[in-house]
């Protein structure tokens, strides 16, 4: 076996920080090589060095690719040699078609005139390879995230990829789409294309990886060979965090009381396709001190349900009743929902959760400015005390509360979002994918915070696409599919198989 890529002794410093310190990684030809590590371990920096985003000379160490030392001056250099990187935040132009996106910057053109029939026919071939059944003329904006991911991969294939780098490709995919993607990687492997897979989802890594390189604090910890014997998730985690993680979910003795929150016959229609019912007659309840999960595939209508409930932030023609302590409450605007002590922490922190240009302090108090002001005037000292208090309680890692939230890591941003909602003093917290894109250590902290909320007698509704997380955290799990709640399990009877089974069965009907 020969190596397609060897990165030797890579060291990269930014002013004041050593982001990479003598990192070594060897990728064999035709293998799937997983790169794991907590957020900030240096995975993305390493891949930027490889792809030429940080040009030769800005780092020390050497890159040997296909047997020759390479000195990339920019992405164009590495792409020319078949190294293609697909970033976590997809780089597609929403209002252009699939074909236009695939050949963007690489148009099928002669003397600047595009040969559309060639572009379309090549697009069709590529889409067939990645298993995407869409017309090349479909606009990317009309595709779901999973399909967009496939378009990105088709785009990579169009460039004659030899080494495909995927940064968290399944972070926003449901299990079905994730599986399809992983199978695609295996298929590529059979064709001799090597891949580097960066992921937090260790179960996926165990499934497909041939080798795993673990990074911690900018250094290589170890490379694990999965061909010889299977590597357990616990083993990987031990390498990532430098300690054994006894339990991925903190223990909690649930003290569950009476029903405090009920939703009756909740329905909502799509804001544009007005005849499509996105949420169908949902009935659910939450008890005091209970963590209730909502499982389901991506697109099952869970976020749509939560947002339509929270001040009609999604959808139209919304109907149904919401009861708190047996009394009907008005949740028709976000302001009313908040004052009726409902909070909703979004799945998309950057778009819906934070004002990124503002500091931790201003974000924490945003949903409850009245709590730090008298008659419209903000008491800045009190505000600061509140922010410092949450920063300490939630362990938000930032130099101070005056740090702009754009500079925080995903886990810390999530803690700021949670702080904001805790400061609004809710009784019911709806948490939508609370640990998406967050590393293992920070996840544990978020879980601890959620448990503390339940222990304080609040009701928590937790939407998550990661079933182990729901099984590890919740007291009861609802399963949603195509806008309806199709099953309900107590934690004692719930299992991944049963949930999947329920989804598959309801889909068949």
């Amino acid at each position: 076996m020969n190596a397609i890529l060897e990165m030797r002794g890579i060291t990269k410093t930014f002013p004041g920080v050593k982001a990479l310190d003598d990192v070594n990684i060897t990728v064999q030809a035709g293998e799937i090589h997983a790169l794991v590590g907590e957020n900030g371990a240096g995975k993305s920096t390493l891949m930027k060095v490889l792809s030429g985003v940080y040009p030769h000379g800005s780092y020390s160490g050497s890159i040997v690719y296909e047997g020759e030392e390479r000195r990339f001056k920019g992405i164009a250099d590495s792409e020319a040699l078949g190294i293609i990187i697909i970033h976590q935040e997809l780089a597609l132009v929403p209002l252009l078609s699939i074909a236009e996106n695939i050949f963007l910057g690489n148009e099928q053109a002669k003397y600047g005139v595009i040969d559309w029939s060639l572009a379309f026919s090549r697009t069709k071939e590529l889409l067939k390879v990645v298993g995407l059944n869409e017309s090349p003329e479909t606009l990317v904006t009309n595709l779901g995230v999973g399909k967009q991911q496939l378009v990105e991969i088709a785009k990579a294939l169009s460039k004659k990829v030899k080494l495909l780098i995927l940064d968290e490709p399944t972070a926003s995919l449901n299990e079905k789409d994730s599986d399809a993607l992983l199978n695609l990687l295996l298929q590529f492997k059979a064709q001799g294309i090597s891949s580097i897979l960066i992921s937090h989802k260790l179960n996926e890594i165990s499934k497909v990886a041939d080798a795993i390189t673990v990074l911690r604090d900018g250094g290589t910890v170890e490379t694990l060979d999965c061909r010889a014997e299977a590597v357990s998730e616990d083993r990987i985690i031990r390498g990532m965090v430098g300690r054994t993680m006894e339990d991925r979910y903190p223990k909690r003795e649930p003290k569950i009381g009476e029903i405090i929150f009920e939703v009756e016959n909740w329905s909502a229609y799509h804001p544009i396709h007005t005849h499509v019912q996105v949420v169908k007659n949902v009935n659910l309840n939450i008890r005091r001190g209970e963590i209730v999960g909502v499982a389901g595939l991506m697109g099952a209508g869970r976020t749509e349900f939560a947002m339509s409930l929270f001040g009609r932030s999604f959808g139209q023609n919304i109907s149904g009743r919401v009861m708190l302590h047996g009394r009907q409450i008005d949740v028709s605007t976000v302001e009313k929902a908040v004052s009726n002590r409902i909070a909703y922490a979004t799945e998309d922190r950057k778009t819906y959760g934070l004002v990124l240009a503002e500091d931790v302090r201003k974000n924490v108090t945003l949903a409850n400015l009245e709590g730090v002001s008298k008659r419209f005037v903000i008491d800045d000292i009190q505000e600061l005390a509140v922010a410092n208090d949450y920063r300490a309680k939630m362990r938000i890692r930032s130099p101070s509360v005056f740090q702009e939230t754009v500079n925080l890591s995903g886990g810390n941003q999530q803690k700021v979002v949670l702080s904001k909602w805790l400061f609004s003093d809710p009784e019911i917290l709806i948490l939508d994918e609370p640990t998406r894109g967050i590393d293992v250590g920070a996840k544990y902290e978020i879980y601890t915070i959620i448990n503390r909320l339940a222990d304080a007698g609040k009701g928590v509704l937790m939407i998550s696409s990661e079933m182990p997380e729901l099984l590890g955290m919740c007291d009861r799990i609802y399963v949603m599919n195509e806008g309806s709640l199709i099953a309900e399990f107590s934690i004692a009877e719930a299992s991944q198989e049963k949930i999947m089974h329920a989804i598959v069965k309801s889909g068949r009907r």
Binding site: V334, E335, T346, A357, L369, V377, N388, R391
Partner: protein, 399 residues
């Protein structure tokens, strides 16, 4: 009781050196520094004409309406919008005031109140489309610009209307009378200047003490003293110069009160904070329970009222309403806000910045006019300064 020390809370103790602090807050001081440099430059090349009491008074009178509109424009721009119609509103409201007083015989007070209300209604009419119909503000206010330019012409019948009652003229050309009855020297001006310096120093000491008590990062004490001392010297020197001429113009007092009010609103009130959140991330603001539509609407109403006030001041200054009044003002106002460091994408900008930006433009206009540079090259230079100031700001932010 909270027994954690400041260290455990990880709040940095005020031990930063001067240079470090200035570096960290360069954006806050950079603009002020440029203004001082520009003033110094023109003071030298005009052989001291710039800071003569007469010219200083002119400088204030010429720029008051730009500064006043910049306060409203700052909020509009921070909220993520733009208002191109303010110049036309100035002309329209000035014309309306003229017709009301000269043709219909209303008294100045009724006229002023009515005109401010009309300004607010114009703002509301435009804000409605922007906030509730989501029509881009650029287009709504471009339409408004044309509409009110046309209505001004129609209202005045293409003629100049004036002159105004003396009471109304005082709005712009009046001075605070001297209660101490000084001969050739206006003691009231000096007294008001000293009093406001005392107030500023009192409040900044109180807020500093409060910050220290709660272990907030503060400027080094030396720098703090220097800053306040410099401010005191500048304000008192300015008032002294004004006192040797005719005292403080009425419009200066109006302007100063408005600047203080808007600085307070943007820094310390919930509505101000929400405007920044709205401009920074509208979706997040909305999901945090902020009524984003109403807030957008109100920033335009506010802009309309201030543009109305500017229209009155401008008309009073010329003592006549002309169809050409207000032409191109929107450009000076918008330039002032951007020179002052506001972000074109919203969410960022300061009242002090916008005021300094307005004076940068004002001093350059005034200085170049004294030098006899023609209106042609004045515009070229102003355009280049706008570009330079904003690119410098973009560059600084990238670092």
């Amino acid at each position: 009781m909270d027994t954690r020390t400041a260290d455990e809370l990880n709040v940095s103790q005020p031990k930063t050196s001067w240079m470090e602090f200035i570096k960290a807050h360069f954006r806050d001081y950079g603009m002020l520094l440029s203004l001082l440099v520009i003033m110094l430059f023109f003071q030298v090349v005009t052989n001291g004409t710039l800071l003569r009491p007469l010219n200083l008074t002119n400088l204030v009178l010429q720029n008051s309406y730009i500064v006043i509109m910049a306060l409203g424009m700052l909020l509009v721009i921070v909220a993520g919008h733009i208002d191109l119609s303010v110049g036309s509103i100035v002309g329209f409201v000035g014309g309306l005031a003229a017709i009301m007083m000269v043709r219909w015989g209303f008294d100045p007070v009724t006229t002023t109140i009515a005109c401010l209300i009309v300004g607010g209604l114009i703002g509301a009419a435009q804000g409605y489309w922007v906030a509730y119909f989501k029509v881009p503000s650029f287009i709504v206010t471009l339409a408004g610009m044309l509409v009110f330019k046309g209505l001004t012409l129609a209202l005045l019948g293409g003629m100049s209307v004036g002159p105004f009652p003396v009471v109304f003229q005082r709005l712009s050309s009046g001075f605070i009378p001297d209660v101490f009855g000084g001969e050739g020297f206006n003691y009231t001006a000096l007294f008001l200047g000293t009093a406001s310096v005392a107030a500023i120093i009192y409040f900044s000491f109180r807020s500093r003490a409060n910050q220290l008590k709660h272990a907030v990062e503060t400027a080094p004490f030396g720098l703090f003293l220097f800053k306040n001392g410099l401010l005191a010297v500048l304000v008192i020197a300015f008032c002294y110069l004004m006192a040797t001429y005719r005292g403080l113009p009425n419009v200066l007092v109006i302007m100063a009160v408005l600047i203080a009010l808007y600085a307070f609103v943007t820094n310390r009130t919930t509505i101000g904070r929400r405007v920044y959140a709205l401009g920074g991330n509208e979706k997040a603001a909305k999901l945090s329970g902020i009524k984003t539509e109403r807030l957008t609407f109100l920033t335009f109403v506010n802009m309309g009222v201030l543009a109305g006030l500017a229209g009155l001041i401008f008309a009073a200054r010329l003592n006549t309403a002309t169809p050409k009044a207000g032409l191109g003002f929107e450009l000076d106002v918008i330039a002032a806000v951007f020179i002052g460091g506001a972000s074109a994408t919203g969410g960022v900008g300061k009242v002090t910045g916008a005021v300094i930006g307005a004076f940068v433009m004002g001093v350059m206009n005034n200085g170049m006019s004294i030098l006899g540079i023609g209106i042609d090259y004045q515009q070229v230079i102003k355009g280049l300064v706008l570009l330079a100031a904003v690119s410098l700001d973009v560059y600084n932010r990238k670092k």
